[in-house]
Amino acid sequence: MTCDEATRLIDPALDGGTEPGTLVALMEHLERCPECHEQSETQLLVRRVLASRPAEMVPDGFSERLAARLAAEAGPAWLDAVNWRRWSLGLVPAAAAILWLALVVERPAEGTSSIDTASALITWGMQEGDLTLRLVEFDPGLELLRLLGDPVGSTPTER
């Protein structure tokens, strides 16, 4: 191993990211070469001292001042209220429920009461704590309640 090669390997070796065989070769070189040995000491010594630099304590109130700046950056609360993206997202569950109701009311499954079916599914959604209705692709002729596990005890519809 040459001195140039050894010099390039010192830092990675101190990081612990050197193959064992390479590390052995490097150590053998350092044992024979006083200059490179001195270099490795220099690199290690300075790394240690700099890493031990006592950290400053941030001034009192730093976090509060930063939070205030970020809050000012985000804008006033009323802006959120008129931000159509924010409040429209909140309407998704309601929109899904309305769409589902429209589908069910318009084309009730044979043998089932569309109103009863709608009530059962909405009730099921709230019992599970899930206000987002899952719209399942279904044929109006299929028993939707059975697909959803018949949570309210409704009997399967007859075709």
């Binding site: 612990g16 044992e31 270099q39 010594l45 001292v49 700099l50 630099r53």
Partner: protein, 178 residues
């Protein structure tokens, strides 16, 4: 971040503002963070740009003198440190290190601060600064050579003995050297 700003600006009293500006810019740009680098690297890049802009506006090379802990700051530190002696030791040590770092050029001080104080990897520093990895490695290597005489007194005598015997980690199959 605060330590980085203090070192790079030579203890500038604006360091707090610079750190806040860093986080504000990160907040504004977070939607553009593409994960091409780590978040740490991305944040450091912003911090370095903020400091460089500050130094450029000041229109001078940053001279690092013994860091001045303003009176108000020291008082709050006293409230939080275990003892006056601990505070004094920490401040003196930090000032000694920063005085040594101040002898380096702005760019080299940035590189070695990112590497040895902040702990960034070479590839991260290359991303932050836009320099080739080899350039970063060689400049940090030479900077350490220059800093050794100034920093050697800060190393514990006990550690120095260990340093001579164990400059490198021992491989499993070999004994120690030196």
């Amino acid at each position: 971040m605060y330590a980085l700003a203090r070192v790079l600006t030579g203890g500038d009293a604006d360091a707090e503002d610079l750190v806040q500006e860093t986080f504000v810019r990160a907040f504004r740009a977070i939607s553009r963070f593409r994960r091409e680098s780590s978040f740490r690297t991305w944040l450091h890049r912003i911090a370095v740009n903020v400091v460089k802009s500050h130094v450029a506006r000041r229109g001078r090379r940053v001279e690092t003198s013994a860091l001045r802990e303003d009176g108000e700051h020291v008082e709050s530190l006293l409230d939080r440190m275990p003892s006056d002696e601990d505070l004094e030791t920490a401040v003196v040590r930090r000032q000694s290190i920063d005085r040594a770092l101040g002898t380096l050029s702005d760019e080299v001080r940035l590189l070695i601060t990112l590497r040895d104080v902040q702990g960034l990897e070479y590839h991260e520093i290359a991303t932050v600064t836009g320099l080739p990895i080899g350039t970063v490695e060689s400049r940090v290597f030479r900077a350490r050579q220059r800093l050794r005489p100034m920093l050697e007194p800060l190393l514990d005598r006990g550690c120095k003995g260990v340093l001579r015997r164990r400059a490198l980690p021992r491989p499993v199959s070999q004994g120690s050297f030196g």
